[in-house]
Every structure is written in structure tokens, then in C-alpha cells.
């Protein structure tokens, strides 16, 4: 028998309510190190809410989230990056008027320690930190094909480019766990393919474990080793892509949504 590696992320019976709405009704699953875990489910099933619970933006009412051996319950939001959790946002949360370069450098904030006084005096520690961050930045600009727009305000760029900036901003912080919330949203077919290739390319060198929320089933199924499916804040499937795809509950949830969307399209036509 082979010993399973200790999970890097362990979500245990997490409950999150908004007033009367139960966004997460006791969700549990584990993600092993260096895996890509797809998180799927219809709109409103609680995927983003779970991300926000992991990154401390929401405080869950019950349950626990254990990351890298320690509980994240009660950990302040701004400590999450230092713990090794990086993320992107479903609707892109860039610093719009800052340049691409500056945006990405903010992602390296938690790697530095220089404070107000050191910065105001431009002490050697500040120069050293800036140089280190700049080296990482240059590598990422090349990797994500952002060098040409490095000095443009992030808010002025097309949506797919903004998504790459967000990815670079997360990567520069050297996260152990990367939370990607619909990274393929708004991308065309070719761009989705590129994203899949990119995720494949970076996971090894960056030593990443990825939790990937995505509607593009083909992308999720292609890149993930594990898939977790949510519906109405409950886990309805957890396994390999092939297993999850066969799960009757998943088929029902997705067929249900497709049928609904067809109806909506028909109504608006």
C-alpha cells in the first residue's frame, strides 16, 4: 500500500451563510500537493464563496480549513499571501490606474519587509528588495507575454490581457496554493487552449497546487487530476475527471443548467 501524501489543503465541513442563504452547507474535500483540482458547479453553487473563505475574505460560521498543516480559521486576510495562498478574482480585481508593472509588483508585497521609514530613506534593504522583485517581474513579463504592455495602465487593457496580469500578480508572490476563479472567463477557444498550455507549463517550475474554478468543462477536465463538483453549496462529486463526469448528480446538475440556459436564450431571442 502506498502512503497518501498529506493534503496541502483540507476543507472540512465549511458552512457559510448570508442571512438566510446557505452558500456553503458543509463542504469537505482535500487537495494533495502539486495537484490541479478543478472546482465546478452551476452559477451560485458557492465556488467563489469557498475561495473567499479560503482567502479569509469571508469568515465561515462552522468547519475548518487547514492549509499546509495549520488552520486558516481566524487568520487575517493580509496574512494569507504570506502563508502561501495566491489568488485571482472572478471579475478581475486589478489596480486599474497602475501600470501592469506596478500591479504585478504589488503581488510581491508580502515577500518584502521594508516599512515606511526604510522606504522614505531608501535604505539598502529597499533597493535590494526592489531589485529582487524586478528580476522576478521581468521573468513573468516574458512568460506571460506582457512585456509590451508593462507600462500601460492595467485598466486600459483588453480583458484577456488583464486576466494574464492578474495571473502574473499572483505568481510573483510564489504561492504554494493558487486559487484561480474562472481564469478562462471571457476567453475565446484559442485563448482557452493557450491558458491550458500555460497552466501545464507553470505548475512544475512554480511548484504549484492549483484550485481551479471554471465553467469551461473541457479545460477543467483536461488539466485537473481531481475535480470537485458543488451544487447549492453542497459537494455532489469528488474524484478524477473521468469519475466526476460519469456521476449522475453532475450530469443532472449540468443538464439542468443547460436546459435552463436554452430556455433563457429562446425567451430573449
Amino acid at each position: 500500500m502506498i502512503a497518501l501524501p498529506a493534503p496541502l489543503l483540507s476543507v472540512r465541513d465549511v458552512v457559510m451563510r448570508f442571512g438566510g442563504v446557505v452558500a456553503l452547507g458543509g463542504v469537505s474535500f482535500d487537495v494533495a500537493p502539486n495537484q490541479i483540482c478543478g472546482l465546478i458547479g452551476p452559477n451560485g453553487s458557492g465556488k467563489t464563496t469557498l475561495f473567499n473563505c479560503i482567502s479569509g475574505i469571508y469568515r465561515y460560521a462552522e468547519g475548518d480549513i487547514v492549509f499546509d498543516g495549520t488552520s486558516l480559521t481566524g487568520v487575517k486576510r493580509h496574512r494569507m499571501a504570506g502563508r502561501g495562498i495566491g489568488r485571482t478574482f472572478q471579475n478581475v480585481a486589478l489596480f486599474r490606474s497602475l501600470s501592469v508593472r506596478q500591479n504585478i509588483l504589488v503581488g510581491a508585497h508580502h515577500l518584502g519587509r521594508s516599512g515606511f521609514i526604510a522606504n522614505a530613506l531608501r535604505l539598502p534593504i529597499v533597493r535590494a528588495e526592489e531589485a529582487a522583485a524586478a528580476a522576478r517581474l521581468d521573468a513573468l513579463l516574458d512568460l506571460l507575454d506582457l512585456a509590451r504592455v508593462a507600462d500601460s495602465p492595467a485598466g486600459s487593457l483588453p480583458f484577456p490581457t488583464q486576466k494574464r496580469v492578474e495571473l502574473a500578480r499572483a505568481l510573483i508572490g510564489a504561492p504554494k496554493l493558487l486559487l484561480l476563479d474562472e481564469p478562462a472567463g471571457g476567453l475565446n477557444h484559442a485563448e482557452v487552449d493557450e491558458l491550458a498550455a500555460l497552466l501545464d507549463r507553470i505548475r512544475g517550475p512554480f511548484n504549484l497546487t492549483i484550485l481551479l474554478v471554471e465553467h469551461h468543462m473541457s479545460l477543467v477536465m483536461r488539466v485537473s487530476e481531481q475535480v470537485v463538483a458543488l451544487e447549492f453549496g453542497r459537494k455532489i462529486a469528488d474524484g478524477t475527471p473521468a469519475e466526476v463526469r460519469r456521476e449522475p448528480e453532475v450530469i443532472r446538475a449540468y443538464l439542468g443548467e443547460t436546459a435552463e440556459e436554452d430556455l433563457r436564450h429562446a425567451a430573449s431571442a
Binding site: 486589478l94 531608501r122 529597499v126 500601460s152 484577456p160
Partner: protein, 332 residues
Amino acid sequence: MDADRTVSSGRFGLTQALGMGAFLAVMVGFAFIADSYHLFQLTMVVAYAVAVLGLTLLTGYTGQISLGQGAFFAIGSYSTAILMANYDWPYWATLPVAAAVSALVGFLIGFPALRLGGLYLALTTFALAVSVPQILKVNALSDFTGGVQGLTMDKAEAPFGLPLTGDQWIYLFSLGVGCLMFLLAWNLTRGRTGRAMMAVREQAVAAEAMGVGLAALKIRTFAVSAMITGIGGALSAIAVQFVAPDSFNFFLSITLFVGLVVGGVDSIPGALFGGAFIEFIPNIANDISKAAPGAIYGAILIGFMFALPRGVGGGVMAMLRRARRRPLPEVR
């Protein structure tokens, strides 16, 4: 989409260094060509510019609207005035105290400010500005503050037997302090701390996810902002040799805010234009029409905002970009 805008990344080349050197030479040169009245005005430009600079960090960079910055200016002014008038301190020795007292008050104001955002913070700081003259008039404090009469100080003189008049010296002294403040602020904003400030202004949730502690950053920014504005106040007290409560009414706070916007909210050099605007435009308006200087001031202000909607700092940046226009970045 304005994809051809580029954002300055704070790099400092030879051209900038030469430009800065030339600018400083001119500023120092003024000390030897301007008469004492104009030297006084220029000293006040520096004092107001430093005050606006504090606001630039707080409101322009970090996005915390302060309509009460005049309170910090008053605290700096009174710290200096009390030490000089009551305790015979030399003017220069009062500056660190004025800085420390202002920073402390800013730090304390920062705590309630954490819970308030946007317009609520604006109103709260405004309330602070409104209350300052009243506090300065309180009888119980009048032994220190001089009450309604205020305090009068001796004129500063040039040290070490330098062949300079008091006006020349105070101008050069203020210019030196001002340069130091601008250098510190520029350093602060071009690195890790400055990026964190702007990140908080643009997208606080994302900034936190990158590891920026909002509470610590905002409170420290309040303290630094108050400290710098307080030093501006101290410089003005030294130049005016007089402080009284009604010089620090809420209109001062609004005036500083106007200086901020006119100069360009997130432009460090823009603060200097803001200081010049505060010092000169009311006089110019008065020269144009003795009957309705307020209306002229308003008209000039509106004209400025139409011509330079992003302030002088923003306008100059846009001009520089046009001058060395790069081809449109190709984006996929």
C-alpha cells in the same frame, strides 16, 4: 480605450536629474533677487506645498479623503509657536517636535478613520477642521495658546554670521526643509510602500490578498501625512511669526484640498503647484477685482479644472508622454 497612456514608473534619468538641479538653482536664486515681501510669499509657497504634500500621500496615494488637513497644519504651527513664544526655543529646534506632535495626532485620528470610508471619512475630518479654532480658543489652554489673541514670535535670523537677511535665511531654510520632505515623500511613493498605498486606493480587497495590511498602512499613512502637513504649518508659523485660532478655520482645510486637486492628486511635484496656487491665486483674484475676489477665484479654479482635469501634475505628465509618444502597445 486609452491604451496609449503609460504610467510613470518612477525611474530617474539624467534628464530628470538635470531638470531638478536647474529647478533648485532657480529656487535658490530667488533668495538673492526677490525683495522681502516676495521672499515671504515664496516661503509661504514652500510651507503650503509641504502641507499639500502631506495630503497628496493620504488622499492622492492612499485614497483617504481628508477635508481636515488644516487641523494638522494648525497643530504644527502651534507646536512651533508655543515652543518659540513661551519657551524661547530656537525656530529650528521646534520642527522635530512639531513633526512628532502632528504625527501622533494623525496616528490617533487614523484609528476612527479605519472604520470610515469615502464620504464619511471626508465628513469626519471636516468636523475636525471645524473644531480646531474653537479648541485653540479654549480658556483653559490660553496660557499656552494665547487664546483668541494667539502668539507672536521673534523673527528668525541667519546663523553663523551668514551675510543674509532674516527673510532670505528663512526662505532658504524652508526651501531646504521642503526639499527634504519632497525627497522623503518621493522615496516613499516609488517603492513597496507607495505601491501598497495606491493598491489600497484602487482595490482594497485585492491589496489585502497580496499581503497589504490595510489597518497598519492607513494608520501609518495618516501619521506620515499629518507629520508632513504639520511641518508645513511649522514653516508657515516661523515665516509669519504669529499664530491665531482664526487663521486655522475650516477654510484652510478646503484651501489645502484645492491645492491638492489643482496640483494633481497623486503627483508629488504637483504639490508644489498646489502650494503656489494657494499662495498666489487669492492675491491675483484680489488684484483683478477688489469687489468680488471670491468670484474671480472661483472662475480661475473652474478654468484650471477645465484646462487640466488631472491637475498640473497630471497635465504635465500627459504632455511629456505626448512629446515622446511611443507606438501603441500591441495587445492581443
